[in-house]
Assembly symmetry: D2
Amino acid sequence: MVAGCCDGTNTMTLLADLLSSIFDRRYRTFLPGSSDNRPMEELTAALLGASGEVSGSTIARIILDRYETAEEDEKLSFFNHLAEDMAVSPQDLRAALETYEKGQTKTSYETLVRAAEPRRQELIRRLNQVPDATRSLVAMRADLLRFSKEDDALQALNVDFGHLFASWFNRGFLVLRPINWESPANILEKIIEYEAVHAIDSWDDLRRRLQPADRRCFAFFHPTMPDEPLIFVEVALTKGVPSSVQGLLSEEREHIEAEDANTAVFYSISNCQKGLAGISFGNSLIKQVAADLSLELPSLKTFVTLSPIPGFLNWIEKNDLGPLPDDPKQLKALAAHYLIAAKRRNGLPLDPVARFHLGNGAQVYQVHADADLSEKGQQQSAGVMVNYLYNLSKVSQNHERFATSHEIAASSDIKSLSAAAEKALNRSPTDGQPAL
Amino acid sequence: MVAGCCDGTNTMTLLADLLSSIFDRRYRTFLPGSSDNRPMEELTAALLGASGEVSGSTIARIILDRYETAEEDEKLSFFNHLAEDMAVSPQDLRAALETYEKGQTKTSYETLVRAAEPRRQELIRRLNQVPDATRSLVAMRADLLRFSKEDDALQALNVDFGHLFASWFNRGFLVLRPINWESPANILEKIIEYEAVHAIDSWDDLRRRLQPADRRCFAFFHPTMPDEPLIFVEVALTKGVPSSVQGLLSEEREHIEAEDANTAVFYSISNCQKGLAGISFGNSLIKQVAADLSLELPSLKTFVTLSPIPGFLNWIEKNDLGPLPDDPKQLKALAAHYLIAAKRRNGLPLDPVARFHLGNGAQVYQVHADADLSEKGQQQSAGVMVNYLYNLSKVSQNHERFATSHEIAASSDIKSLSAAAEKALNRSPTDGQPAL
Amino acid sequence: MVAGCCDGTNTMTLLADLLSSIFDRRYRTFLPGSSDNRPMEELTAALLGASGEVSGSTIARIILDRYETAEEDEKLSFFNHLAEDMAVSPQDLRAALETYEKGQTKTSYETLVRAAEPRRQELIRRLNQVPDATRSLVAMRADLLRFSKEDDALQALNVDFGHLFASWFNRGFLVLRPINWESPANILEKIIEYEAVHAIDSWDDLRRRLQPADRRCFAFFHPTMPDEPLIFVEVALTKGVPSSVQGLLSEEREHIEAEDANTAVFYSISNCQKGLAGISFGNSLIKQVAADLSLELPSLKTFVTLSPIPGFLNWIEKNDLGPLPDDPKQLKALAAHYLIAAKRRNGLPLDPVARFHLGNGAQVYQVHADADLSEKGQQQSAGVMVNYLYNLSKVSQNHERFATSHEIAASSDIKSLSAAAEKALNRSPTDGQPAL
Amino acid sequence: MVAGCCDGTNTMTLLADLLSSIFDRRYRTFLPGSSDNRPMEELTAALLGASGEVSGSTIARIILDRYETAEEDEKLSFFNHLAEDMAVSPQDLRAALETYEKGQTKTSYETLVRAAEPRRQELIRRLNQVPDATRSLVAMRADLLRFSKEDDALQALNVDFGHLFASWFNRGFLVLRPINWESPANILEKIIEYEAVHAIDSWDDLRRRLQPADRRCFAFFHPTMPDEPLIFVEVALTKGVPSSVQGLLSEEREHIEAEDANTAVFYSISNCQKGLAGISFGNSLIKQVAADLSLELPSLKTFVTLSPIPGFLNWIEKNDLGPLPDDPKQLKALAAHYLIAAKRRNGLPLDPVARFHLGNGAQVYQVHADADLSEKGQQQSAGVMVNYLYNLSKVSQNHERFATSHEIAASSDIKSLSAAAEKALNRSPTDGQPAL
């Protein structure tokens, strides 16, 4: 019987623990490098040079260690070194391209490929050969993003980091894992830290989101960073689509058995790693979790989010749409209209959360007033929230239409509400009264 | 490289999680028993009877489930049933004994063994065949201990539980595991709950005891109760023997590398399971942990406790030894004297913690004033604490002498302090002044 | 994705491997005992005595090591020591019983319990405290079974071993695990070694029984003996009930998808540990596997064995039932009759395999001629085999009737065949011709 | 205690097994794609197009499944599609380069990077998002290598595969694991299959290389291919440097305890995955294993190979160096000379195994006659073998010198032997007699 069985989980912890000190000692023994005082430029050259092939791990460890303890200006100087000394050479690339155009052979192609790839990419790959290097490189890019805002060369360097990371953090290498009250504390404290939508204010609060039978949480991990969630989603299993987050998170709410739920609510999605900005896993996560849950709990029929509308009030203000209506119905209509009609110049929805879910193939499904009573919820959307619906059989088609013609999938309810709001807005300006 | 490897720990959690709902469903399917309304007496008879051999797991599950939701009086009635209806029959035993004395054959011995074992032991073994039953049975005995205080028959029942548990929780079946900040939260919350010596007041406090490189914690587990520590010990790795617990636990204390420590301090040992009272694992735990640590960290030379002296002030008061001396040295002398000279009628030390460690083969090593500033520490021992020394090469000999002739191992310091206290006590009564 | 995930299996192997040498070294360091030359009698006394509580693991290791390298006569002498010097004392037990009858208190009961348990039981429990001791003790009992055949005192000792093992190997502590082509080679070689019904003649043969999608194997393990299967069952997933084992095991047989099977055939069950003789897990194993499989593969509707009839020809010969009929139908009728009508004096079926499955609540379902063409199959049953049916909803009732009134469950086919055979047998003697 | 502990290894296997069918079913449910009959060109376009972002895993699965069951000509046609329709466009790259040269901004750099990367690279990344895709892609490249020998466009495609694989199979993502007799049978059968140096002829032969305390084997794995070793090395722990492989592998050889060995002999290194040709992990493997072993067994002082000399006789023949000398000493001298003096035009050693180990920083240490009596050993090197020495403290320096100036590290013994051979060769031609 598995339930009464021998619990490899903690055996692993035991072994890992016993081993950690062993490995610490090993690396101290085999890495005499801390006394290597060569400047960074020489170390990177060594790592890329002949001896780097064999003594690479020693040099890589020294570079990463030195970077980690560096001051801000030293870090910047390191990035500038990569950005300037290890960039693509347009001359070389032009020459390689000309040769290639003359004769497309394996050799001319290899030369082209090599000329098109800046040497810093190989440097980063070689840095990645020591234990825990991937984590350090992700942290390094988080630093770089701070420095690169105004700097073309650093932005180009950032493009290279992003290119490598997109390859390393390819969906095929990510591992989906449930996060629950049996998860290791060092991972759970990161969930507390990284939660970006509805803050977790204590371990008790965390337990309320993980332990009950009608709560789930899932995260993507990378094999080389087993303690670092990359992105996670919190899920509530409910009867019917919920209309407020305070209802969902209330300490006094009624718990149900997972088997009795018909709806899975994705009420919070948080990216965890600044250094992985732009490497998106969000849409895979939601679809994977929806697929897993529908397998485990066949009674689940509806997969929705309960999402904030961060740009709502800002849009009202910028467009001078007058004081907010008191009538919840009018407020909802306005929100529905904002979600499906307010667009950026490029034709995409104004609201960033809407862009994310519509881009994933979801549909704008329902809006609710008084759905988020927190200060943040009041300030950004007057407490209105929205459900995006993930209908697994329509996700591809919705996505396709959205991607090719910016067509927004919406329920008939939402469309009616939006139409009502539009009508009201069109006749309102005349009398200075709130239109809705 | 292991360090960068794939983290079976959480994979296990993932799988366990996915499976739990499957197994829940299976048992619902295969255990139609919840609608079985037979009285407990019939169910226990059925479990012991013919059909119990084959449909045992169904009946066992029903009995355990019904017990768990029972009221106090129903539980008592269940225990009385076991105590009275399933006891040893003196007549049967006498008859079996007579037959055995006449001819010691396999058959007569089997009959004797069967007659000497009350049927409730077989009942308990058959109850134990369903998942998680061991945990339920341990909880059952915790209840029984409450009921049995004044009741001979229930105490006899308790003897049988204890006898079975001693066999099931035999040292050979226990698993030693480190508890650390990577341990599952559901285990860590039990550490917080069960800590009986120096209360853990928050998750941050817990982290301070688990995460630093110079802190360790180990627990014994049983394979069938992988989430339930049976007993655990908290260890501080230090330079030199510490003289106060507030120094050890201070948030501002200086951290050291594990490799730089020469001393391991067992500063807290807590039993976790009331239902396992009397099944002792404490001495194995300390010796095992000492052995493991000395293997991992060869620089560790000294293994000591930093222990409370719970009976000290009580002893002073009962023996009317006058007001406490202000002089820390005199206070320490009095404590040393209490530890090695104050005896119960049976010749064993009066202090329960002293009995435990001396019984394990430790030596009374040092006493410290102002070592425990907590309210509890002040009340029970005026803040004095004691180090018991575990010298692995002398533990057997110390234990042997203590067990056979109640001889107490003590350092020469402790002996001198005790002698000074004795001298002072002998001359003090004349003038009513504090002797020390 | 779990499928592509990080494979804790082998990580565990890695860690276990790295650690094994560490632990070997530890025990060498902490166990100076190999130079302890005291006679066994002194060592057992020491283990049971005062110092045994603390230095127990050292003494236990010495005793077990010395036993393992002992000659046959030394082993016998060790068993005689346990049998004679550590038996129950009838006088002590009588005295304790008298005290208990005068007043049933906790103390008098404890004294009784202690007097009723021979000291060798506590000795065996204390031996069990070192790593791998359980395996050694199981091997020890396998030796004992060889020695004890004619010796009452050793048989009584064997009763005590059996009593302890029944408690330690309680169903609740066993773990069911699938055995497949991903299992460790050191476990697989034991499957080859222990297969007792249809010998496995090579690793290729083993692979044919484990790797195909329509083949399964499951074993019970004990947590302290993770590399030692206790009992295992081999299963074929088929369409319809199979009528011959050579069809099942043929290299050329047609493979099917597991999901397409409607029948699970338990075609081989083997006990692995001689030292656990008499501790039965077989009925739990079949029921558990049937339950697990029906959960995993809902299309499975029929659970049957394909079993040998080891006593068939022997019974014909002993009862002088004449030459075997050539007609397969007549042969099957005779076999059906043997299975349900041939009884021991105590009313139980003559055939040992029938006793096992009928005792588990199975039904005699079908018999097949030419079902086992192996030499062994021809010799013991002229190639006839039988299917026992495990109908999960009738197993309890069948078992109950069998246990209380020796009533044998059989299909109407079997009953008809048996009736035909009976009729034929009754009229046959007259003419000396074969009746069937 | 670990030894008596609960063996996560097999628990994992259990869970994995139970889950496999679940996942099979899931993917069948969520992947209705098998009925998708669009031509490959449309599928690849779809995967790269808008909908590929969301329904990617479905399309990827269809493409990979269809490829796996394709005929040779369909595979070739698929590769040609990637090679021709998804290559770099020189025009686009030229345009992007010109823009970039005019202004090096983030945007112009991104455009350049995109233009320099053929679209098939993104296609391969998107194919990699489904479970087990990495394994399929590695197998795909093994096919490609067969097709591409004479075809420039396919060779360019192969360059792209290689480029991606070098990133994915970066040393930092590989996991080193011991292979032993506790390893899963499905991995062990691959060791038998892939062994390329000294063939393993049976499971018994395999056991002789894995189970004894003085034998080790280690392999690199990738987290997404946990059952597929990438490269493995077999190690013998010996007293002294061995002089023949038949001595090492003899069934009758004397076994020693690992702790008594002073030498680790890498006697066989085999690459396993044709599809990973050119992605080298060999030097990391040897160094890592040497480091691990020296940590585990501090008594190990010498790390050597026992290697074949595959090009020796061929060199003698090509250079017309006359009949082989009968004198073993002369034969060894000739081999030493071949190893350190016979060069390719580019100045690197002629012998491929020598290139590998010298490139890793090893030293030519000893040569032995009659060291490989197998047919293969006789044919390629007249039975002579060589030890390359891995002196961890000199490996970097040796490598550096070899890489920059082709300087070959050799022991003084080897240098003397080579000098003797050279001398002999120089005077030999005159009389037509063998020089050595």
